[in-house]
């Protein structure tokens, strides 16, 4: 867990959001062109998990909200579901963080897959409460499982790259400004 100074959050979030926008643009245009009309990688979820795993700041929930707002520009999915789910996952993560050490690639893959599925479960419960429709949940699950497996397998590599972006500003085991 790494502390980041509040002032450093803005440029880093800017780069992270730019990355998200570029990936979303490519995913919403190139995937359908090559025939993948029903397959998307939930990269916004992955980014939120990266922030939740690695960044220690009081404003983490605001960062999740911003990621979800940017994602909502590319989808009709409400930002509210993703934000609420992200914060629930954040709360759960705060209880198990002590036993999580994402040092080995295999551990990173398994932990990421677990939290991606947890994300899907929580958001499905919220959708069920909101729309009272069980079919949507099953449909979501079938599409989400293969995407989550691919993302988990890529997790060690992608986490590594994202950590490299944030690395300079992280202050490991020492105090930030809060």
């Amino acid at each position: 867990m790494n502390k980041v100074k509040t002032i450093d959050i803005f440029p880093l979030m800017g780069i992270t959001l730019l990355l998200l926008i570029i990936l979303e643009v490519f995913m919403t245009t190139l995937f359908p062109i090559v025939g993948l009309t029903s397959f998307r990688l939930p990269l916004h979820v992955f980014l939120v998990l990266f922030l939740a795993f690695n960044i220690d700041t009081p404003y983490i929930s605001i960062m999740i909200l911003v990621v979800m707002l940017v994602h909502s520009l590319f989808t009709i999915e409400s930002w509210a579901i993703g934000t609420a789910t992200g914060i629930f996952v954040l709360i759960i993560l705060s209880y198990v963080r002590g036993v999580l050490h994402l040092s080995a690639p295999l551990v990173t893959i398994v932990v990421t897959e677990f939290f991606l599925l947890l994300w899907n479960l929580i958001s499905s419960i919220l959708i069920y409460f909101r729309y009272n429709n069980l079919d949507i949940i099953l449909q979501r699950l079938w599409v989400f499982i293969p995407a989550s497996i691919i993302l988990s397998l890529l997790a060690p590599l992608l986490f590594g790259q994202l950590t490299r972006i944030w690395q300079g500003r992280m202050v490991k085991n020492s105090a930030g400004d809060l």
Binding site: I21, E24, V25, F26, M27, T28, T29, L30, F31, P32, I33, G35, T37, S38, F39, R40, P42, H44, T57, P58, Y59, I60, S61, I62, I64, L65, H71, S72, L73, F74, T75, I76, E77, S78, W79, A80, I81, T83, A84, I87, F88, L90, I91, L126, R130, Y131, N133, D135, I136, Q139, R140, W142, V143, F144, A147, A175, D177, L178
Partner: protein, 288 residues
Amino acid sequence: MDIRDDRGRRLKLFWNFVILVTALFVLAKQEPVVEKTSPFDAFLIDILTPLQSSVSGSYLEVRNFFQHYTLSVNASKENVKLQSKIEDYQKRLFHVSEIEKENERLKSLLDFVQEREEQQVFAQVVAYDASSEHKVIRINKGESSGITLHSPVVTSLGLVGYVSRVTAHYADVLTLFDSNNRVDGIISRMRTHGIVEGDSGGRCIMKYVPRTRPLVLGDIVITSGLGRIYPKGIKIGVVSEIERDFYGSSQTIYVTPSVKFSEIEELIVLISPTEENKKEQVDEEVKK
């Protein structure tokens, strides 16, 4: 315990609580499928969608470039010249056949729209929704072309969906393949009503059809005109599977839509005349 750590923890708890409550409140209050776009959101979408449009447009160019490069890398100069000539002719041929196909599609669209009284706006698909579970497409026309929320969208083959989000130059169309979209449909042959919803596998499901109605495979389903979104008589699809349980008062009908989600390229947004426009038209006719 460090005082700064404790302050940080309390601040984190505060923000977590505030944003969670806000998100849950918005989730509870939000319309399920229609989103009023804020000016800021509309501004960002108008900036980002040309990016999507240019990426999808340049894809073919890039592919052609790489194909050409890999084909000609091992060939002699003469062969390259001949090859490039052939490729040039092939490209032209391909281009002509694409234009021919587009022409046919536009002709059929034109035939279709001439039969309708609503104002029509032709549009092209520029991107798809970022979530795999939503069947939403983004088109290159928006409010500046007269498109409003809830405007029905069709092709010459039949119904596509309706506009669920609109900005000045772009709009999102919630297709009938999406489970959030519900259309009041009727079986054309028997005039039996039912609700058509998006289902998996590129099909729709028609609910609440009384089990006493003797439907057959191939029956055509059209819009009923109820619900104030879709005009009456637009083809939705054909009945492709019928499930009758031993109990219950209704049967489950699977409908294969006339349009295919992955093959939608050009489409028409139908714009009903507003009350003001209708009054203006009546006034003009009275003056004449």
